[in-house]
Every structure is written in C-alpha cells, then in structure tokens.
C-alpha cells in the first residue's frame, strides 16, 4: 500500500506535521498487554469490587435485569453501529428508538419523547433550557426545590451558569419531607419560567404533584417533572398531574434495565407536550414511508439539532446514550404493564417492611410522615457516615448518608429496598444495624 503512494516508510505519511511537534521519545504509557494478560488484570480489578448487600438508592437503583436484555443489546449490530444517519441501513436501531419513544410516552403520559439524553441530571438541565426558550418573555428564573437530588442541583449550577439562568431554591417541610407549601408564596405569577418537581423526591417522599402543577400553571410557568420511570408502573404519570399535566417530563432511565456500574452509563429521558416538540433537544425517530410506500423509520426534526442548526440548535448533544435505550426498550417489553406494576409494588412493599423493621430498633426513627415510594430517611442516634463504614465491613451498603448534602442531617441515612431485597436481607441489615449501634453505645 505504501508503494502505491510512492512512499517507503509509514513516517512519511506524517510529513505535513511540523517536525518539532512530533513525539520522538516513547510516551510513558504502560507496555502493551495481550488479551490474556488484560483479561487476568481486569478479572483481578473486578474482583476487588465485591458486591455488597445494597440498600443505597439516591438516584441509582439495584433492580433485577432480565438476562435477555444485555445478551441482545450487546449484539454487534446494535453495539457497533452509530447514530442512524443512513436510515435505510439502520432500521434496527431506528425501529427500536421509535418503539422506545412509544413505550416511554405511554409510561410518562406525555405526547412525545426523544431518543435519550446523557443522564437524569443533564436531562433536567436541558429541560430547563427548553423551558426558558419556550417562555422568552419570562425572566430566566427557575424554582428548584431542595427535595431535588443534590447532585442534580449541582449539575444545574454547572450547566445553567453560562446562560445566566437563576435558580431559586424552595425549602422543604421539616416533618413531611416535601416542598414546603409556604415556600411557593414568595413567588408570583410571571416572575419565573418553570417549577421543577421531583416525584418521588430525593427523600423518597411523594410530593403533592397535582397542586404543584396547577399552581405553576396558574403562575404562567411550566411544570418540569423529574420522575423515576419504574415508579410509573404504579404511580400517576406526570402527563396527568393536575388539570393539564406536566409540560416537560424528564429523569434518569437507569432503573429500566441498566446496571449500576458505579454511576454510568445510564440515560436521561425526556418527554413533552406536543406544542413544545420543536424546542426539544436530542434525537427523535419518526415513522415515514419509502418510495414503495412501505413504512420505515428515520431520524427526524433534525432542524433542531447542532449538525444543522449549529449555534442556534436546541442543544449541543450529538452522541447520546443510544444503547441504553435499546436496553430500556427490552426491559419494558419483557416486563409489560403487569411486570412493571408488580415490580414497583414490590419495591414499595419491601420498603414498607424495611421501615417497619428499622423502627423496631431502639434509637432509630423514620424522619418523615408522608407517603413514600421506595426510599426512606431514617434518623440514627449517631453519625450516619461512620455507621455506614461499620456495616460495609460486613458486606452491607446500608444506604446513603445525608450529612454531606444537608449539614443538619448528619445523623440521617437514606435507605432503599427494591424488589431485589428479600425479607432475609432486611433482617440481616436490621441485625447488623442493631449490633453496630449497641457496640458503640
């Protein structure tokens, strides 16, 4: 091949690069491994990360993942294809996206859904940009409750800064764990573009979403819902909140068949009302016809996107989390409405069991009085973080300490029991907790 080019050495291919830029010395990377050595190394590394009995939630949930999902999502034809720019040679991915959009839309109760964003937190940031764009006459101000996941609030800070969007926090009710009703009073109609509501919220608590939605709409603002999609097997879809439903719905797709993986890759989902469609970021698959009038699928409404609209695009997103939506589509297909309902119900049921059992332990107290979905906040007689460390030694991840996020809550843990946690698991946790508490008294 070199000879066709009239060259003698590979180096000559780089002739246009200024010589003083070329790396002449060997870079200090580790020596190459062969696959055998790599496999052994990575087996050892993975072996260091021994799975724990997990009661942590806080935005990432250990659910049962049917084996068929990753056996199929991992197929080369899905795994090694890219964004379906050539529709006719990408009907697999495109039809899956269309089916994903369809299933998510019924789950969320939204008119339309896009084909994924990076994760729940960035999806919310995009939802806020979208709200701001579609309410150009309102101030760039957003109401964000303290019951929203603290990491999500941090991401909003990072991402909204450049456009000068102001975040107005809403405190929560100390005994109830939901948005404090008085907090809304401070905000008047026309003074903000959107209200964000998380359901369930970070504490696992169910918010009064109907009132909140109607209130936001009365103030001429949009309502942005942040939801756990799995909970919607059981709970009201945001599209039906209040009189007219949430306007933009987003959240973290991880509960739908995506492994925990230390935090990613997950995927963000987003749906909205029809009239907001052209403000929506991200890929969208649509059904159309070919020259023979056969139905088929394409990426559509691309005029919203960076590769066409460039600086005026609805978002800069390009590569999204495609493969994760394949997995989620498989998840929803395998579960169906009944499987999803039972899974959500089982999460709730197990968390009830957990709450009841933990309350029997002297010194432990359930913090909030309101209904919850599958997470609870528990108050301890001591610092949450040190207790977690003690239980980790016994192979238990006893939840997430709230101190780092809410300084006044340093004796508190956020715990979750999904459908994976059996009665024995809960008993094991309870006993480990009891004895850890006793030991240090």
């Amino acid at each position: 091949m070199l000879s066709l080019l009239g060259l003698e050495q590979l180096e000559q291919l780089f002739a246009e690069i200024p010589v003083d830029l070329l790396c002449h010395e060997q870079l200090a990377l580790p020596n190459p491994l062969n696959e055998m050595a790599l496999s052994r190394l990575m087996r050892e590394r993975a072996g260091q990360d021994r799975p724990l009995l997990c009661f942590a939630g806080a935005g990432a949930y250990e659910h049962h993942i049917p084996a068929a999902i990753w056996e199929i999502a991992g197929r080369g034809e899905f795994y090694s294809a890219y964004t379906p720019y050539q529709a006719e040679a990408s009907q697999g991915t495109l039809q899956v996206l269309y089916e994903y959009q369809s299933m998510m839309a019924t789950l969320l109760g939204s008119d339309v859904v896009n084909a994924s964003l990076y994760d729940g937190a960035t999806a919310l940031a995009e939802a806020i940009f979208m709200a701001i764009r579609s309410k150009p006459h309102l101030p760039k101000r957003i109401l964000v409750p303290d019951t929203l996941h603290p990491h999500y609030r941090q991401v909003l800070h990072s991402m909204l800064l450049g456009q000068g969007i102001e975040i107005l926090p809403l405190p929560f009710a100390r005994n109830e764990g939901d948005i404090h009703p008085d907090a809304l009073q401070a905000h008047t109609a026309g003074s903000f573009a959107a209200l964000v509501v998380a359901q369930p919220n970070f504490f696992g608590i169910l918010e009064e979403v109907h009132q909140l939605t109607d209130w936001a709409h009365q103030q001429q603002a949009l309502l942005i819902a942040v939801v756990n999609p799995l909970s919607l097997g059981l709970l009201q879809p945001p599209g039906q909140w209040g009189t007219t439903g949430a306007d933009i719905i987003c959240g973290e797709g991880q509960p739908l068949g995506i492994p925990l993986s230390s935090g990613g890759p997950y995927f963000g989902f987003m749906g909205c009302k029809n009239h907001l469609l052209r403000q929506m970021p991200g890929r969208i698959a649509g059904r159309t016809l070919d020259k023979n009038q056969e139905p088929g699928f394409v990426l559509t409404l691309q005029a919203r996107e960076q590769h066409i609209r460039r600086a005026k695009a609805t978002s800069n997103i390009c590569t999204n989390q495609g493969l994760m939506t394949v997995a989620a589509t498989l998840y929803l297909s395998l579960m169906g409405p009944e499987g999803l309902r039972q899974t959500a119900a089982s999460c709730h049921h197990n968390t009830l069991t957990l709450a009841n059992r933990l309350q029997q332990i002297p010194g432990l107290r359930l913090l909030f009085g309101r209904p919850f979905f599958h997470e609870i906040v528990v108050e301890l007689p001591k610092n949450g973080q040190s207790l977690l460390a003690a239980l980790e030694k016994q192979g238990i991840c006893a939840g997430v300490a709230l101190g780092p996020y809410y300084p006044e809550m340093e004796n508190m843990l956020l715990l979750c029991a999904t459908e994976m946690r059996t009665a024995q698991d809960i008993e094991q946790l309870a006993q480990a907790l009891s004895s850890a508490l006793q030991q240090e008294h």
Partner: protein, 492 residues
Amino acid sequence: MEPLLIQLSRAQRYNRQHTPLPEANNEQPLQHAQLAPFLRAQPPALPEVSELDAVRHFTRLSQKNFSVDTHFYPLGSCTMKYNPRVCNTVAMQAGFLQRHPLSAETTGQGVMSCLFELQEMLRELTGMAAVSLTPMAGAQGEFAGVAMIAAYHRQRGDSQRTEILIPDAAHGTNPATAALCGFSVREIATDANGDLDMAALQAALGAHTAGLMLTNPSTLGLFERQIQQIAQMVHQAGALLYYDGANLNAIAGRVRPGDMGFDAIHINVHKTFATPHGGGGPGAGPVGVSERLRPFLPVPMVGQNSQGQFYWLTEQEFPLTIGRLSAFAGNIGVLLRAYAYLRLTGTEGMRRVASFATLNANYLMRRLTEAGFQTAFPNRLATHEFIITLQNEAKQFGVNALDFAKRLLDYGFYAPTVYFPLLVPECLLIEPTETESKESLDRFVAAMIAIRQEAMDDPQKVRQAPLAVPVPGGGHSRLDDTLAARKPDLRW
C-alpha cells in the same frame, strides 16, 4: 418489514419469570394503602408479549442494522473502527456492574484504579497537565472545555470576552456548545489549501475573544500546519485555545495537543479508544487541560493518597471547579472499555493505530483519485480521513453525493458522511480507519467505480437508491425524510 412490537401484544400476557412475585395465587396483598391517592388509573399501554416474542423481535431488528461488526462503515469524522470484543467482556464483569455509585471508595478500588490510570494515560498521550474523565460524550467535553475557558476569564475579572471563534469547517457541536455556554460565535474561513485563513483569524481576534475552537486534524481530513502560529496569536490576544479531539485517532502517539499549545481538549473515547458506538452512544468525552485551566476541571476525578488508595476528588479539592456534569461520575462503563483498549495498545500500539489509519486513508484516497474521483484537497496528504467531491458527477449525470451514498448501501457498504463539512460541495467525508484490510478498501473502490458507471448509464436508478438494502426480509427503498418532518409520527 418487522411488525411493531405492539402488534404482537395480547392482553394479559406477561412474563412471570420477571416479576417479583412468581406465584400469582400467592401474591401478597400490595400494602400500599398510603399510595392510593397517587396510583395511576390505567396501566401504561406497554406491549404484552412473551420473552420469546421480545427476543425474536429485537434479534430480527438488530439484523436490519449495518454495523462495524457486519459492514465496512467509512463514516467520516466518526472513526467507526473495530472495538475489540474483549473490552466489552472485561467491562461486563459482575464486580464492575453491580457497584452502586455512592457506595464507599473502599469498595471500589478496582474500578477506581482503572479510572486513575486512564486519567494518567490520557494525560501522557495528549500532553496535557491534567485530565477529568467525567464528560459523557464529546459534546459534553466541549461544554466542559468552554465552561473552563469562561471560568478562567471570569476568575481573572476579564468579563468582556464574550466571543468564541470557530472555523467554518467545524463540527456542529462546536458552535452549539459555545452558544450553550453563553458565548456568541464567529466563523473563521478556511483557505484554499484547507488551512485556517490566518488573516481572517487575525482580524477576528481581540479583547472580546474568549477562545478559538479547533479540530486538528481538521474535519477536512487535513493537519493544520500553522498550528504553532495560531496558538501564539490566540494566546497573544489573551484568548485560549480549545481542541476538539474527535480526530485524535490520526495522530495519537505521534503529536500531542498539549505540545501544539492547546489549553483545553476533549477526547472522544468512542472514536480513538474503540469503545462502542451503540447506535448513537454511550460515549465518553474526557477533558484535558493545560496548567492554567487545571483548577477549573469538572468533578469528580480520581485521586490517589499516600497509602496508594484511590478516592474521589471533588469541589473540596477543586474549589474553582466548573462543577458536576452528571449525577454521578460519568459513563464509567465506557471508560473501563477505553482503559482496557489502551492497556492492549500501549504507546507502540497507539502509534500503529495512527499510522495505519493514515495509511488506509491515503491509500483509499489515491485509489479513488486514480479512478477519476476528485478529492477536495488534491495537494495535501490525507490524515485519517479525506474528502471527495462529486460536483462533476452531479453536474454531468445529475447524480449527487446523497445518491452515491444511498447506492453504496445497496452494495453492502455503510455510506461515508455526506455534506459535511459544509464548505465542500457534494462531498463525501471518508474515514476507513486502521482496522479495515486492504481488501475492504479495494472492494469499496470497486463499488464507487461501479456506481459512477451506473450514474452514466442509468442515473435514474442511482437517484432511486437504495433499491433494496441487503438485510433479512429485503430492505427499504429510499425513505422520505420530508414526509417524516412534515407529519411527525413519533409513536405508535
């Protein structure tokens, strides 16, 4: 055509084995009295199908995709090279998959050691001072980079720098990102040789310039030869230089953006580091910075303490950080694959990647030139990709770049990128990658020649293409994009 899954649905059918309560008659009462006011009135209208139905449906759908594992996929700018399967296998181990993101650092030393070493390797490979892995794709890496540039100027009290300069050849994510960060965008022209127009750059630079975003090799498939001068000019103007690393595959192990003078870069691991593309993701877009931007890096990163233990670096250690870009720490599973890939290649392997990516592109370019196709920059060496323009063919036969692209599908090739970069008319941006054999490239040339012959003999046929993409059950003819946008049908 494969039916929609909902068409296979039958009420009440469900997969008992995936529900938490296997025995229907033994179902515990769902004690959710407290939830009553929150329950949905109607179940979601999801398909009700058996596991076999679902497996068969999605397996069949998968076969309708062209993919690297099944087809030559010379999609320019996207580096559709082969992902060694082992990188997937090692990343899919239970220890990695089951770890909760908020569980203690002590329980994640395996994954964190990989991430730490990956940071170090990317730092070395790019010549930057520090690397953060957290961005979840190239575009988010760009966001992080531009946000750091903004933070830098802000930190210096230099509030007038409201403009980002971007070459006209740039990828759409560059201007979109600049806008997302609140900057206005000014385009800089490309000269006849495909280099940046230096006069235009000089004219544009000023006290309002926050930075210049550059891809090198550029999206024209050319190495920007004046890069050192450009860096000097930009820095002299008090602005910073951003590197879009989507094309790093061409130069990895040979030239380093850090040495070229860039202040902030992103790296598309799903390109150079052979992580999957997944039908559109997930990717990952680590960022690297020069010393002056280090304080602003996005968190979390991984640090190592004096006992050799790994831990998360957050705003505690980086009080000036631009902050968090995801709920947790980014696309860790993807980063593990990149780590595995880099351990397979090492420096020598990386240099081989760049060499053979470049060799394949130049070989293919030469073969096409000899076959009479017109390249956009005939006097230049190609990098890992190159552009041909089908202006002549369009004029002579009325068969345009899109027609060629669609006809290639009939021949069993994925199409190169079409109509990008915007400045070259009727262009195909062709990137063969280093993992294709000479035989693949030769077959592609033969197909291009055959299509041109068809364009002469029967242009209507090419304009109708694809006629039948070779997928099971018989593929589609050309799909109507206009109809799709005019009457959006976005769900069943």
